[in-house]
């Protein structure tokens, strides 16, 4: 009698949990933070070699019949690479599933084989035809030609918050020739309060040029992400100065108007809470904010670069060492070429800009500064978005993981941050992360990693959720109780309904699953009352680790019931209470796994969250069963 009942109960609970898992899989939709990005540029990703395809060159004159006979032993179907020429050369190709290296080793042992190797695909790196491209040591330094083979920035918008950009013919402003062909989206002039963010200084146009100078157009020089669109936003006046209020407004405006990356080659002044909040706002909207570290040549990173939400950029010269003017410090993130004209004019960064004396006159100017380094990083961030990065976390991880630290260093330093950027390596790093992030996206959004929003746990009862009664954890607890009672033999069972009559059992069960739920009916929401209406594990997590912290796996486990049940070995009077607590824990853990598994702190892999909860729920069940069992002896 007992065995089938146990089997039915186990089956029922397992089915319930499996159903929960299935539901998760269906719900797990891929959420793109910025769906506007066109990722079609991924198509021009070049596969350098196709390892599953092999080339075998037989002795000249080897016939198809001969190699068909040989290939049977190798388990590969080889065909002539070229019907016309192949009859003489006997060069064959074939596709193979499995360990290619071992296969090639076997093939090479045959006397009729001259050579066997993986098929290589050759492609020349992209070299733009811009006549002064040869002078752009900075682009070669960061490995641009290889990166351009993969992606050029299509579909991404980079806002340039600066002195404006010479992007249009308006009034006495003229578009500079090497921005002809560059894409622009509507910007704003926060200094003069109009729609024409033209450059009356020369700085912003130079910076915009590094990001997206018209490239391969037979004119002037190249830019990093030349298929990206520039959003010209003027925040600095014709002397190159601005206000924190204008800049903060401009950051929010750019984030609200579709920018994916914000470049701020500006800094100085004190810490501004208004600007810091604006940077945080932009980042939460999925915007990568890139800022210059400063030109003081001292160990102070200027604001806004020093705000937590922004990527702080130092400058290096052609030799790859920190430029003497570049600021450094603990908030530094990364380094990029910014020029070092102490080594000559050609060691600066050359872009097309306006003559500061005459806004309608274009010049090619060689400038140096952390302002010049910053747009290299902003441009690379645009390439990463274009290559499929989905949020600032992914962009920054790829940037930092692929940067080259200075000689002798291995990781972050206060002079170079994570090191000097490398566009090709960053794209490869993103690609490697891609496999992991796709796996990540199959998980329910609640357990995904790399979300830029601060994680909110179930312990965060807001005034909004205060009034809503959540019976579900209790319902799960009740189901768990039914399971326990059904699996106990008649003599061991304390009675189906007797347990409910025992307050020592019922109160811990209710507290663990619903908290002091009725408080919400008699008192308004405030700091104190909101902490009464949450279940015990949420409450523990809140008081131990602080409000809004990630759910701790030790709190959301069988740990508390285990500890208490050890005490109950001696103190038999505690048993029903511990049983109630264990049932409650089993209920809430199972419910959490079923409904919205929280991101658990410390766990190395997010996919472990649900198994962790399920396993601990089962442990709680066994504890509860032991606690409720009536002594038969």
């Amino acid at each position: 009698m007992r065995t089938p009942r146990l089997a039915i109960a186990v089956g029922a609970v397992t089915l319930m949990m499996l159903a929960g898992c299935d539901r998760k899989a269906e719900e797990a939709t891929v959420s793109l933070d910025r769906p506007a990005i066109d990722v079609s540029a991924q198509a021009d990703d070049v596969a350098y070699h196709l390892p599953e395809v092999v080339v075998v060159d037989f002795e000249d004159g080897t016939t198809k019949e001969q190699f068909d006979a040989l290939e049977k032993d190798w388990g590969i179907d080889l065909e002539l690479a070229d019907e016309e020429e192949g009859v003489d050369s006997a060069i064959t190709v074939g596709t193979f599933q499995g360990d290619v290296a071992t296969l090639l080793g076997t093939i090479r042992q045959n006397a009729k084989v001259e050579n066997a190797e993986p098929l290589m695909r050759f492609s020349a790196s992209f070299v733009p035809n811009d006549p002064a491209y040869e002078k752009q040591w900075n682009l070669k330094m960061i490995n641009m030609p290889k990166a351009w083979d993969r992606v050029k920035g299509k579909g991404v918008v980079v806002a340039v918050l600066d002195t404006g950009v010479a992007y249009e013919d308006h009034d006495d402003f003229r578009q500079v020739p090497d921005l002809r062909g560059t894409k622009f989206v509507e910007g704003y002039d926060f200094v003069n309060k109009d729609r024409h963010a033209n450059d009356d200084h020369g700085h912003g146009t130079h910076v915009a040029g590094t990001i997206a100078q018209a490239t391969n157009n037979g004119e002037g020089v190249a830019g990093v992400a030349f298929e990206a669109a520039i959003m010209p936003v003027k925040v600095l006046d014709h002397f190159g100065g601005g206000t924190s209020a204008d800049i903060a407004d401009a950051i929010r405006w750019a984030a609200d108007h579709g920018a994916n990356v914000i470049n701020m080659s500006l800094g100085g002044g004190g810490r501004s809470a208004v600007m810091e909040k604006a940077v945080e706002y932009a980042r939460k909207k999925g915007v990568v904010v890139v800022c210059a570290a400063g030109n003081g040549g001292r160990g102070i990173v200027e604001y806004p670069a020093a705000y937590p939400g922004s990527v702080a950029v130092a400058a290096v010269g052609p030799a790859g060492s920190r430029a003497p003017y570049s600021s450094w410090g603990k908030e530094l993130d990364i380094a990029a070429p910014g020029g070092d004209k102490s080594q000559g004019e050609e060691a600066g960064i050359i872009q097309n800009t306006i003559d500061p004396q005459d806004v309608s006159h274009a010049v090619y100017a060689s400038y140096q500064g952390t302002s010049m380094a910053t747009p290299h990083v902003a441009g690379l961030a645009a390439l990463l978005f274009s290559a499929g990065a989905k949020n600032p976390d992914q962009v920054e991880k790829a940037l930092f993981a692929s940067a080259h630290p200075p000689k002798g260093a291995t990781g972050w330093t206060d002079q170079y941050g994570h090191g000097v950027i490398d566009a090709e390596a960053a794209l490869q790093a993103l690609k490697k992360m891609g496999a992991a992030s796709e796996l990540n996206e199959l998980l329910p959004t609640e357990v995904q990693v790399a979300k830029q929003e601060p994680e909110v746990t179930t312990s965060d009862v807001t005034a909004f959720s205060y009034g809503a009664m959540d019976w579900k954890p209790f319902a799960f607890g009740a189901a768990m109780l039914a399971f326990v009672l059904l699996t106990l033999g008649k003599k061991e069972r304390p009675g189906y309904l007797n347990v409910f009559a025992s307050p020592g059992f019922l109160i811990p069960l209710v507290l663990t699953t619903m908290g002091v739920f009725f408080v919400r009916w008699v008192a308004p929401a405030n700091e104190l009352t909101t902490s009464f209406v949450i279940p015990i594990p949420d409450w523990l997590n809140k008081i131990i680790f602080g409000r809004g912290s990630l759910a701790n796996p030790l709190v959301y486990s069988a740990l508390a019931p285990i500890v208490l049940s050890l005490l109950a070995i001696k103190l038999k009077g505690m048993r029903h209470a511990v049983g109630g607590l264990a049932i409650g824990f089993a209920g809430i853990l199972a419910y959490t796994a079923w409904a919205k598994a929280p991101a658990l702190a410390w766990l190395p892999f997010t996919f472990l969250a649900i198994p962790w909860l399920v396993v601990n729920a089962i442990i709680c069940l066994f504890l509860a069963r032991a606690m409720l069992k009536r002594e038969t002896a």
Partner: protein, 72 residues
């Protein structure tokens, strides 16, 4: 309003920045004044306000907004 003595310094950074190297050794990014102020190496006495709040493209220290000046 502050009065300071110092030396005008041009730095070929960014689009070209003008600094006041004050007698106490501190560097200020020059703002305001007029174009005749731009004399590299000139000794000067300036009257104006220190502005440590405004972001700018020089990023080389606080700004000194010049109201009036005399070369020494």
């Amino acid at each position: 309003m502050t009065t300071m003595k110092g030396t005008i310094r041009f730095r070929d950074l960014e689009t070209g920045i003008w600094l006041l190297e004050a007698e106490d050794g501190k560097l200020y990014v020059l703002a305001g004044g007029d174009r005749k102020l731009k004399k590299n190496g000139a000794r000067i006495s300036v009257e104006g306000d220190v502005d440590a709040e405004s972001p700018n493209l020089a990023m080389a220290g606080p700004r000194f907004v010049v109201k009036s000046y005399t070369f020494l």
